[in-house]
Each structure stands twice: as structure tokens, then as C-alpha cells.
Symmetry: C2
Subunit: 218 residues, 2 copies
């Protein structure tokens, strides 16, 4: 059970606060917009109206006692930066701040943010990359040009074994390793090449990105 202060309760900040609260942590949720504070009722431990660029207000709220803070102010660059400076001054060990653009992000790092996130840009890249790969549900990069994808089985492979499908390993037709298969509620780790695939299966597939693309385009 940890204690986190979240500053700024727009879409990003309120969702951070709600998720942390649901995970059982103590969340002090700050915004200077009364309406946003009220919307957090029941979704955070302490929703409170305050100006996060006011050092006295932050001290009064006990912010020096928090180890972790998330600065979720996205548009008001000045408030985002000043709030981060204050958190650093008050001894916050770990600060995650959201930035509008790379210059804003670099500035936040300079004044003490440990982690900078770009919510719109991150999601945009995911959307752009998945736009023409409807079978690919998720992806982790393991190395440049090499990753692991969660892929919906293309219809063409229904009823084939991994071997028949050319998916029996990196030396097989598609050059991919199927690390797991999820079928309904069941998870099959490291399936054998005799595993018979079924429509609706989700596959965890590792391999070079261009090979993954060829396979998911089937």
C-alpha cells in the first residue's frame, strides 16, 4: 500500500488517480477546479481543491510526506513546471510528469521529473502502427526490429497444427516462435508443434518485425 499525490485531474490525471486507488493505494488528488475535485469523490482517498503552484498549500496538505507524485497538468506548461519544482523542493523521491511536447518534457526532467510521459503521442504511435495490422492486438519490443506480438489467429490457419501452419519455430516457414496460445480461458505455454490451432486462438509470437507483419497479413 503506497501513498501517491496526483496533481491535475483531467482525463489523464483522474484515470491515474482512479487506477491507483482501485489498486489499494492512498491517493491525494489535487486540482484547483472545484468541479474536477467533486468528480473524484469516491475515486480517490482525498480529492482536494488546491493550487499546486502554491507551496504553502502543498505543505498544508502533507505533500512532503509523499514519496511519489504524478504531475498530470497537460496544457498549462508553466503550472506543470512550477508544480514539479515545488514537489522536488518538498522532497518527493519519484516524480512522473506528463509533457505536451519534447521541449516541455526536457524542461520537466531538468527541474526534477524522474519520468516524463507523452500520453497522446504514445497512443498515436500505437494506433498508427496497428492500423493496418488488424490481427495484432498488442506488441512488446524485445530489440530494435524484433518483438513479441499478441496475434489473433488468421482464419486461413484454422485446424492446422503449428507444424502444418509453418509456425513450428524460427527455422520453419514463417521464421516465428509461438511462445503461447490462449484458447478461451486456457493458456498453453511453449506449445508443441503438434498443437492444433483453432479459430479464435490468440497467439504470442516472437520474431523479426517484418516476419511478424508477413504472418499477420495472411
Amino acid at each position: 500500500r503506497k501513498q501517491v499525490v496526483v496533481i491535475g485531474l483531467g482525463r489523464f490525471g483522474s484515470e491515474v488517480a482512479k487506477t491507483l486507488y482501485q489498486e489499494g493505494h492512498d491517493v491525494l488528488a489535487i486540482d484547483n477546479d472545484e468541479r474536477r475535485v467533486q468528480e473524484m469523490a469516491g475515486h480517490a482517498t482525498y480529492p482536494v481543491k488546491a493550487d499546486a503552484t502554491n507551496e504553502a498549500a502543498l505543505r498544508e496538505l502533507g505533500v512532503p510526506n509523499f514519496d511519489v507524485a504524478v504531475v498530470a497538468i497537460g496544457n498549462d506548461i508553466e503550472a506543470s513546471i512550477m508544480s514539479t519544482v515545488l514537489l522536488k523542493t518538498l522532497g518527493t523521491a519519484h516524480i512522473v510528469a506528463r509533457a505536451r511536447d519534447p521541449l516541455h518534457g526536457r524542461t520537466l526532467e531538468r527541474v526534477g521529473a524522474n519520468v516524463v510521459v507523452y500520453p497522446e503521442q504514445e497512443t498515436a504511435e500505437r494506433v498508427a502502427r496497428s492500423l493496418f495490422q488488424p490481427h495484432v492486438l498488442d506488441y512488446i519490443e524485445l530489440a530494435p526490429s524484433f518483438g513479441v506480438s499478441k496475434v489473433r489467429l488468421p482464419e486461413a490457419f484454422n485446424h492446422m497444427t503449428l507444424k502444418q501452419a509453418g509456425l513450428a519455430g524460427p527455422r520453419d516457414k514463417y521464421g516465428l516462435a509461438v511462445l503461447a496460445v490462449r484458447r478461451g480461458k486456457e493458456i498453453i505455454l511453449l506449445p508443441s508443434e503438434e498443437e492444433r490451432l483453432q479459430s479464435g486462438d490468440l497467439l504470442l509470437v516472437a520474431g523479426r518485425d517484418e516476419l511478424l507483419e508477413k504472418f499477420s497479413a495472411s
Copy 2:
């Protein structure tokens, strides 16, 4: 090489357009704010100033010829919905729309959006979940409570074999399967239990979420 129309060039839309353009696709990037259109110069095939709620303007721009559209208007709910309705009318086969909240999202689906995304909320959940798991760099859910994490090797396991570390498989101490190890530029798929781990290694680990948490908290 595909053709995509992106409507709305804020942080989300401009990044979608830029990413698609860099991947070699043809991108028609529309915004009714002249400044935003100019910022796209060199980053999209055709950056153009237009009101996306104006059917005649969209026809004139050849939008009926595009199969895929991304509606990236985040704040003006009315414009977002009307633009989606128009795209549907003009025959766009696949529409991805960004929504401000679930009600907005449901409405977009009703009027023809095939996929709805929530950039701020998606990133917020990722940030909240990774806040207290500094070793976990990425995660794919395979089933509820079961996933695959990309994890930085905790220092405590430096120089141990997978077997010595208790990571030799789901029946071993940590109950996890190590599917791959990345060491520098090298990727070892399905490592043997004799594989000796080194500080700096990235592990692809599969298992129940609470077991993953125990391991990454080491």
C-alpha cells in the same frame, strides 16, 4: 502503401499522421487551424486546411477515395461526431476515432466508428500500473490476471543460472516461464535452465500477474 485521412492535428492526430507518413503511407492531414496545418509541412503527404464537418469540403479533397480515416478531434465532441458521420456517409471502410470519455466513445461507435481510442486514459492506466514496478518495462495481457512482462533483471539474480534463480519454469520457485532473454544485441529464445543471467539482461517472463509482481519486486 495505404492511404489514410487524419482529421485533427493536435498532439494525437499530428503524431498519427507523422508516424503513418514515416512508414511510407499516403496521408491527407486535415485541420481547420492554419497554424497546425503549417506545422505538418514535410510530415504528411497533403496537409490541408479544411473544416471536417463540411461535406462539400471533404468531397473536394477526395475523401470518398480513402479507405481508412482517423478522427483525432478530442475536445469538440460535436465536430468529432459530425465528422465521423460524414466519413461514414462518404463510404470510409475503417474509421478510428478518439473519444473524450465512454459516452462520447459509445456515440462514436453508434455513428460508425469501427475503433474508439482513449489516449489519455490508456496511458494513465499504464503509468499507474508501472509506478511501483520499476523493473517492468512493458506488459502484454494474455488472459485476465495472466500476462507477459518485459523485465529488467533485478540485481539480486546477477550471475545465477535460471535454475539457481528459481526461474526454470512454472513449477519452479517463482512460478514463471522465461520465454526470452535479451543481452545487448543478442536475443536468446526459450533459454535453457543452465542459461547464466547477467546484470543488464532483459527478460520476457510469462506467468500469473501476482507472481510477476513478486519477482519484479525482488
